[in-house]
Symmetry: C2
Subunit: 359 residues, 2 copies
């Protein structure tokens, strides 16, 4: 593992995007969002994905410099067809519009269809929370999740993020996939040759499986089987709740925008998965004095911090706390990257004649 100065890494990433043909603004925003994932310790959504964006742009699946089509607009709502734009920069811009709506009219919502991968959902919800709003961000993703009692993938990992500001410069950020785990976790187990725990996935018969390799193959060739929703298999641990939440994300992202939903969301040779997003901002002063609210939020997090820890454990965390602590460390010491990822992203830069920092 090495650490690279955040600004240097953003600049490198930005130069790669520029060389790929993105506009200055698209390149800057996209780099900032990708690197923020690595800074928070969410490497799966960071610059490890740079090659995917590079391939997407080169292959014409992600469109540089394209403007979204406005499908409907009111003082508090916006519906966009992204027309295959870069999901990262488009989402930051859209969240900016949502925040402006909330600034002027208290509340703003946007639903976006036909976009591309937008990185970490929490990036956008936090933009609103920094303006003393409740921030909301969701996306649907390629279908990998199997409903309770079914055997085929009918929804994605469909993450939900909600952020709320807290006194003392803290923030509550819940940023969660609605499946129990994501495909990345299955891949990590396969790499190590480990069995996956019961409750994470079902095989092509819709029956619980521990076989990571077989599962990944079945998912790849769409033979059936896939990830279980939050709550696991069957009804005993309430897997239907995670399944319901995943559908809710599909409703707000794809149904509100007239986009692609459920099992129809998948990558192909011709197109990207055409994923859909949802963004929301609700001004806190619609309800309460913002200082009082943040102070009470602080008391709530203090309650958690001072609560008794389970036998054998060290700490009780609140949503987003680990990520924020990692980010602070990355800002001081540099953004951590595995040797493997560094090698991979150097490769991309070499092809495009972009110099890697410190090289």
């Amino acid at each position: 593992m090495i650490r690279i100065h955040r600004g240097d890494l953003e600049l490198y990433c930005c130069n790669v995007f520029l060389a790929l043909g993105l506009s200055q603004k698209e390149a800057e925003d996209s780099s900032q969002i990708l690197v923020s994932a690595d800074a928070r310790g969410i490497a799966s959504h960071g610059i490890a994905r740079l090659w995917r964006y590079a391939n997407g742009i080169k292959g014409g699946i992600m469109q540089a410099g394209i403007r979204p089509l406005v499908l409907r607009q009111t003082p508090q709502s916006l519906v966009l067809d992204a027309q295959g734009a870069m999901g990262l920069s488009l989402s930051k811009e859209t969240m900016g519009s949502v925040i402006a709506m909330a600034d002027n009219h208290g509340i703003g919502f946007a639903s976006v269809r036909n976009s591309n991968h937008f990185g970490i959902a929490g990036f956008y919800s936090e933009m609103a929370a920094r303006k003393d709003m409740i921030g909301i961000s969701m996306t649907n993703t390629a279908a990998l999740g199997v409903p309770t009692f079914a055997r085929d993938a009918m929804f994605g990992t469909n993450p939900i993020a909600v952020s709320v500001p807290v006194s003392g410069d803290r923030m509550f950020t819940l940023d969660m996939a609605t499946t129990c785990v994501t495909r990345g976790k299955i891949e990590a187990y396969e790499l190590e040759g480990k069995s996956i725990p019961s409750g994470w996935a079902v095989n092509s018969f819709g029956v619980g499986t521990n076989d990571a390799s077989r599962l990944l193959e079945d998912m790849l060739f769409q033979r059936g089987g896939g990830l279980l929703p939050l709550g696991g298999e069957g009804e005993d641990f309430s897997g239907y709740k995670g399944y319901g939440l995943a559908m809710l994300v599909d409703i707000l992202t794809a149904q509100l925008s007239g986009g692609v939903f459920g099992k129809h969301v998948m990558d192909s040779q011709q197109t990207s998965a055409r994923v859909c997003h949802f963004f929301g901002a609700i001004r806190l002063d619609l309800f309460r004095d913002v200082c009082d609210f943040k102070k009470d939020m602080g008391r709530m997090l203090d309650d958690i911090a001072t609560s008794r820890v389970a036998q054998g454990e060290n700490k009780v965390w609140y949503a987003g706390q680990k990520e924020h602590e990692s980010e602070e460390e990355s800002n001081r010491l540099g953004v951590p990257l595995s040797d493997k990822i560094v090698e991979k992203i150097k490769e991309i830069g070499k092809d495009l004649h972009v110099a890697f920092p410190e090289d």
Copy 2:
């Protein structure tokens, strides 16, 4: 099990509430909401709770005829102090105000503090969905749920309900506790002398337990231990997601209204738990033509209905489908009540000289 005509049961329940001193409107609304739970097969939230309301009203913990205090109001938001009113009728009235806000201005939200048990969350979200809106309803509840890696209860079962209309007179209603299971389920296992599955609860050391009796006792005397969030124990099955959702409910219900949150929510001799609610309505036509939306929602539910079923299972359900099928049956054949519950609610009526239907 016997079945009683829905109208007769509502009338009986209404007469009981009137005899207890509720106003005509409070009594009618409260009966309607309680009986709707039984009609949907959710007996735990139905008239089995009548004695609790009766005791609450008699003991002065629930206030008949009291008007809520308006703490803040804008064209799209409302914050109320319920002053210990009946949670059922107050919530129906508040959702009515939220729908009126959405009718006039597209979106309406309300946060309510210092209330009482409001029955099934889905009743209120469905009020909005019937008006072609996205309906949202939440409540915090007495603290019973233990955060990931902790040992004390820091949040309630904190349900979230979201409803959306669908073509063909169908409706998507996700109505879910954010804990893995509720206390009622633990009590049912204890009654049958069965061990509870690992992943439902932790003991007073914060360690997984299968002992239902001991758990219920520990929860009652607040010795530590309690229900696990959706996703179960530790991090392997993402229990921190259910824990984050439970806190989110506390934020929207209690923090937005300045009410009682987290571990502080508990019943005592002097007061009720003073629970807090949140209601929302968002007009669908802010985003899309409503007919198109409902048609696409119909396609989504048809996809689910026609998807391949797991080996050994019979059907893939969508959120709310089971409850709606039960309700239809109850409307035709009468509302199902267990003999034990009938006996119990007859008792309440006898004391108040209210005749039970068909007696």
